[in-house]
């Protein structure tokens, strides 16, 4: 990889520092000749009390970045901190405890334990830890997410959107330092997706939480305070106060720019693969974004 590291431009100073940061974060798969760099010496700071979106085409390393920041995956090189705690080098047991107590998770699908009802799913991380949830906070989260009359339902009895709201509530319930959301709207229709994004926004604005969301949907990214663009394992750009249009434009431009900047290496790649890649990127970018716009217009 020969392209120069694109340093993130100076971020407006966060209200109270960084929730997580990584320096020289590298994640490689395979060995020797076949080594693939999923993350290539990434430096990143996640501002506390902000909603950060990570965007990029599939295979750009955005999920890997999230997994490494969340202590789900090991790193090949570099260092990662959550708050003041360096998590690179922590042992399995300490990482588990860290995830349980200090991080909230939302996944694209299969977010809930099917045998537990909504309330039990929401309090699960605290139950596992053997801690009592803060009742006032729990009430507030439940009301904010509108789950009051769904608490005794099992996941199978909930719609996809309701399931993601329960997952969101679970991520919020233990008041973690950081919430990671991996394509939280990927499996939802546009209306339910908007709802979930709204709640994440509220979690940041009204409840003071920190959210990092991985997405390839410009419409979803538009709800964030800052969008980080990833390509080929590097952060190539960032966009504060994004709009769906601006993100979409940036994605397109970034495709072109990348096409120009990238050296012969990429041009030598099989043309078919690049075409597929581009098409999927565009599909991902356009479809949902249009949906969101339509939805906004209707509202």
């Amino acid at each position: 990889m020969s392209s120069p590291a694109v340093r993130p431009a100076p971020v407006p100073p966060p209200a109270d520092g960084t929730a997580a940061r990584a320096r020289g974060l590298t994640k490689a798969y395979g060995q020797g000749e076949t080594t693939v760099l999923a993350l290539d010496a990434v430096d990143v700071d996640i501002a506390r009390g902000r909603f950060t979106a990570v965007m990029g085409p599939s295979g750009s390393g955005k999920s890997t970045l999230m997994h490494c920041l969340a202590g789900l995956d090991s790193v090949s090189a570099g260092r990662v901190w959550l708050g003041d705690t360096e998590i690179t080098g922590l042992r399995e047991r300490e990482l588990t405890r860290l995830r349980r107590d200090r991080i909230g998770f939302m996944f694209q699908s299969f977010n809930l334990i099917p045998t537990l009802n909504a309330l039990e799913n929401i309090t699960l991380p605290m139950d596992i830890a053997g801690r009592k949830p803060d009742p006032a906070w729990l009430e507030q989260v439940i009301d904010t997410l509108g789950l009051r009359d769904r608490l005794t339902h099992r996941p199978a009895q909930l719609s996809g959107g309701q399931q993601q709201r329960v997952a969101c509530a679970r991520a919020l319930a233990s008041r973690p330092e950081l919430i990671f959301a991996d394509e939280p709207t990927g499996n939802l229709d546009s209306r339910a997706g908007l709802e979930v994004l709204g709640f994440l926004r509220e979690a940041v604005d009204d409840l003071g939480q920190t959210v990092v969301m991985v997405t390839h949907d410009p419409g979803a990214a538009a709800h964030s305070d800052l969008v980080l663009f990833l390509a080929d394992g590097r952060i190539v750009d960032e966009m504060p106060r994004p709009t769906a249009e601006a993100v979409l434009e940036r994605m397109k431009r970034f495709d072109v720019v990348r096409g120009q900047v990238d050296d012969a290496q990429i041009r030598e790649d099989d043309a078919q693969i690049r075409e597929d890649d581009l098409r999927s990127r565009e599909d991902g970018a356009r479809g949902p974004a249009d949906g969101v716009r339509g939805q906004v217009a209707e509202d």
Partner: protein
């Protein structure tokens, strides 16, 4: 399609291996018992066929008894001369062979087998048919010399020059070992002492002119059968039984057979349990494999495979499993047979593994059992697989197979259960043992089937209760494990069923045996009034000398002898009853409490009188004063008057139907030369029990075959005998549990695979590995305890009903061994923990990210 079947078979080999193990175990036990009994049969056929005389003349043995009188039936030795004079007889010999002796060494240790093999004294008469040959020393001459068989000598470290004491009926005598006799073929487990022919009859029969049988050798050209007819014609009476070599070998093998049959049936019992529990395991494994492959099967159907092809594919897999399992099982069975043969030599029976017989029937049976069981067990799952719709390819894998209603099961289980319960209720109120026992059997089978069918319906209510404390005790981990166990009631039910079957049997047997023990205790308390009982642990009679020595012991007051008397009674209703009566000395009332409904001990034990159970007498039209024709062994007959009727609890047990007893003098008159089976001893006035016991023990020191017991010791002896039965049951249970554990492992392993994403999610949001393992362990425990609770509940019902049947035999007390039951429940929890070890380890080792991404 065959290729797809083979691929799938190989792909699931881990899971199939567990099922194969169940097949292997059952086939191994079946094959092992067949090989063992074939080997034994051939060995002894050879032994007896080669050692029996051409024709043997024996005294007529018309009354067989389960309880030995100790009397030896004899013929006059002079008969040999008469036989020898028959045309075609080359030679005739008067044999002496008795097994009512005990042999002890110089330090009063038993020389005979301690595990049930007989101790036999014979006259030393060498022919080319002798089973033994002299391997060292010289033949015995005169009253002071004897030969000992080599196996016994080796086991007891005895050799030429050592002294033995033979405790024979006429009196004990000492002999010096002057030679060792070695078996030419196989020692059937007996200890043999050979005496000089000239003294043997006098020493062990008490009469020089008697013999136990006459053996005749045919002249060349005369067949055994021909010779038998000639001798029969010459003797011309009905007092003797004549047997050719072939017949003799057969009857000898049959006698030995009863002991070997026990081993065979035990082995087949193990095989049966293994098959029964194995069926559950196989059904469950195939059901799970099919549930797991629902989408794959749906795809096959969508691509155009028809139902029959799908079904055949699953059944082919089952047959493959059966063939592999049977083959390994057959090999294991050979190993098991070798082990058994080795074990037999510990009991003194020196079978040779080199002479092992694997008849053609063994592999045939092995494959029929192995493949048959697997095929039958896989049939239902195969039908279910064929019923998978092509649409299933598009559905979630786990949902298929869970949601189908259990209504059919409820109806079938309910109906079968109701019939079974009715049968059990019928057996509880039945008044005749035979009908009650068959109702019990029917009820046990039906209720078992009903519980297996309806098991999945019971999963929800029972596990709700069992796991109710889990959330409180283990938090969300406990809650999730409880609900995981409830997730697929069909699977949980089938998994637990395997454990249930074994534990139901144990529950039933332990209630029955505890009730038996308790009943015997009560009966002993109620009836036994003596200070001490002197007897053999196996109720085997002992020689007269012991009775005399006990009587002569300082401080002994009263001694009441007990002796068994086989007899046949012609009852007024026309029935001829062969039974064993008991003879007692007159002062019975001082050592026992007998309840009479008519007459008293004096009337019962008077000369020419007998007593019997009042209920039995009523049923057969016997009244006090009735005169009954009675036959004794050896053709002696008498007319005995019913002097008394008794109210006995136990009128029908142990071959003593009718509960008859009579005066020992009467017994001695008609069965002379009998041995006492027990002595009831009271201390003389002024002698304490403890000093008397010490003195009795000193007296009996040279007679290790009998022991002194007080009331408590006597109860313990009875308990120990019942416990032997229990040990067997526990061994069966052990096997059932091993197989059941395989089933639990199987189920958990599959559940872990199915829940991979869920496990990944839990790990991502912070469930520690330890907690994950605990979750799986708790699920396993709750399934195992569910099986135990169901099994024990069923077993308790069976046990109570069995006790009702036993009550008809006089065992009226009901005892529930709560200690055992609690231990079994705790044990089942331990089993659950053990079964969860591997699946839990596997789950906790999963890569979190890979698990989340799992399809």
């Amino acid at each position: 399609m065959l290729k797809a079947t083979l691929r799938s078979f190989l792909a699931h080999k881990g899971r199939l291996a567990l099922s194969a193990l169940a097949v292997v175990l059952s086939v191994a036990f079946v094959a092992g018992s067949l090989i063992f009994s074939d080997t034994v049969a051939r060995t002894f056929d050879r032994l007896f066929a080669s050692t029996a005389a051409d024709v043997t003349v024996e005294p007529k043995d018309d009354l067989e008894s389960q309880l030995p009188s100790g009397a030896v039936r004899t013929v006059p030795a002079a008969l040999a001369a008469r036989v020898a004079s028959v045309e075609g007889v080359a030679s005739a010999h008067a044999d002496v062979s008795v097994d009512n002796i005990t042999v002890v060494d110089a330090r009063n240790r038993l020389v005979g087998s301690t595990t049930g093999g007989p101790t036999i004294a014979r006259d030393w008469h060498v022919t080319d048919r002798s089973p033994v040959r002299l391997s060292s020393g010289h033949a015995p001459h005169g009253p002071g010399e004897a030969l000992l068989d080599a196996d016994t000598a080796g086991r007891k470290h005895l050799g030429i020059g050592d002294t033995l004491t033979v405790l024979a009926q006429p009196g004990s005598f000492r002999v010096r070992i002057v030679g060792i006799a070695t078996f030419r073929t196989t020692n059937p487990g007996a200890a043999l002492v050979y005496l000089d022919s000239s003294v043997a009859a006098r020493k062990v029969l008490g009469a020089a002119e008697r013999a136990t049988s006459i053996s005749a050798t045919a002249e060349p050209g005369v067949t055994d059968t021909e010779l038998k007819h000639r001798i029969a014609a010459a003797l011309g009476d009905g007092d003797h039984v004549l047997k050719t070599a072939g017949e003799r070998a057969k009857s000898a093998a049959e006698q030995l057979g009863t002991f070997l049959d026990v081993i065979k049936y035990v082995m087949l019992g193990f095989a049966g349990i293994a098959v029964l529990v194995g069926v559950f395991l196989i059904v469950n494994t195939f059901a799970m494999l099919i549930a797991q492959r629902t989408r794959e099967l749906g795809l096959l159907r969508a691509l155009g495979a028809d139902r029959r092809q799908v079904r055949r594919s699953v059944l082919t897999e089952a047959v493959l499993l059966g063939v592999v399992g049977s083959t390994v099982g057959l090999a294991a069975g050979i190993g098991l047979a070798i082990g058994l043969i080795r074990l037999m030599s510990v009991f003194g029976m020196n079978l040779k593994t080199t002479e092992m017989v694997v008849g053609w029937g063994t592999p045939v049976t092995a494959y029929v059992v192995g493949v048959g069981v697997t095929f039958v067990a896989a049939y239902l799952p195969a039908r279910r697989a064929a019923a998978v719709s092509p649409m299933a390819a598009l559905q979630d894998a786990e949902i298929a197979g869970v949601g189908r209603p259990l209504r059919t099961r409820a109806v079938v289980g309910g109906v079968v259960g109701a019939v079974g319960a009715a049968a059990l209720a019928g057996c509880a109120v039945a008044t005749r043992t035979a009908s009650a026992a068959s109702l019990l059997g029917l009820g046990v089978v039906l209720t078992l089937i009903a519980t297996v069918i309806a098991g999945p319906l019971l999963v929800r209510p029972v596990i709700r209760v069992l796991g109710a404390a889990f959330p409180a005790l283990f938090g969300s981990v406990g809650r999730m494990s409880q609900r995981n166990a409830l997730r697929n009631p069909r699977r949980t039910g089938a998994t637990a069923a395997a454990l249930m079957v074994g534990l139901a049997l144990v529950g039933g047997m332990s209630v029955a045996s505890a009730s038996m023990s308790e009943s015997f205790d009560q009966q002993i308390d109620r009836t036994l009034g003596a200070d001490f009982v002197v007897q053999n642990a196996n109720f085997v009679p002992f020689s007269q000398e012991i009775t005399d020595r006990v009587r002569g012991t300082d401080g002994v007051g009263l001694v009441v002898r007990q002796r068994f008397a086989p007899l046949a009674v012609r009852l007024p209703d026309g029935e001829r009853l062969e039974t064993t009566a008991t003879g007692y000395d007159p002062r019975l009332d001082e050592v026992a409490h007998v309840t009479y409904t008519a007459g008293d001990s004096a009337a019962a034990l008077a000369a020419g009188h007998l007593a019997m159970d009042a209920g039995f007498a009523r049923d057969h039209g016997v009244r006090p004063g009735s005169v009954l024709p009675v036959e004794f062994p050896g053709g002696r007959t008498a007319r005995l008057t019913v002097g008394a009727l008794t109210d006995q609890d136990q009128a029908e047990g142990f071959g003593t139907r009718g509960g008859m007893f009579l005066g020992l003098a009467t017994v001695e008159k008609y069965i002379p030369g009998g041995q006492d089976s027990a002595l009831y001893v009271n201390a003389a006035p002024g002698t304490g029990a403890d000093p008397l016991r010490a003195r009795l023990e000193r007296t009996l020191e040279p007679y290790p075959q009998v022991q002194v017991r007080n009331l408590a010791d006597y109860k313990e002896l009875v308990h120990d005998q019942i416990a032997v039965l229990l040990y067997l049951v526990y061994a069966l249970l052990g096997l059932a549990i091993v197989i059941a554990v395989l089933g639990v492992v199987n189920t958990l392993a599959l559940s872990v695979v199915e829940r991979t994403r869920e496990i990944g999610l839990l790990r991502a949001i912070g469930l520690a590995r330890r907690q994950l393992r605990r979750m799986i362990r708790l699920e396993s425990v709750v399934i195992a305890v569910f099986g135990a609770v169901l099994g024990l509940a069923l077993g308790l019902v069976w046990g109570v009903c069995t006790q009702q049947v036993l009550a008809l035999q006089g065992m009226k007390a009901l005892a529930v061994p709560w200690g055992t039951i609690v231990a079994v429940v705790i044990g089942s929890a331990v089993v659950g923990v053990a079964a969860a070890l591997l699946p839990a380890l596997r789950a906790s080792r999963m890569n979190v990210l890979a698990a989340i991404a799992h399809e």
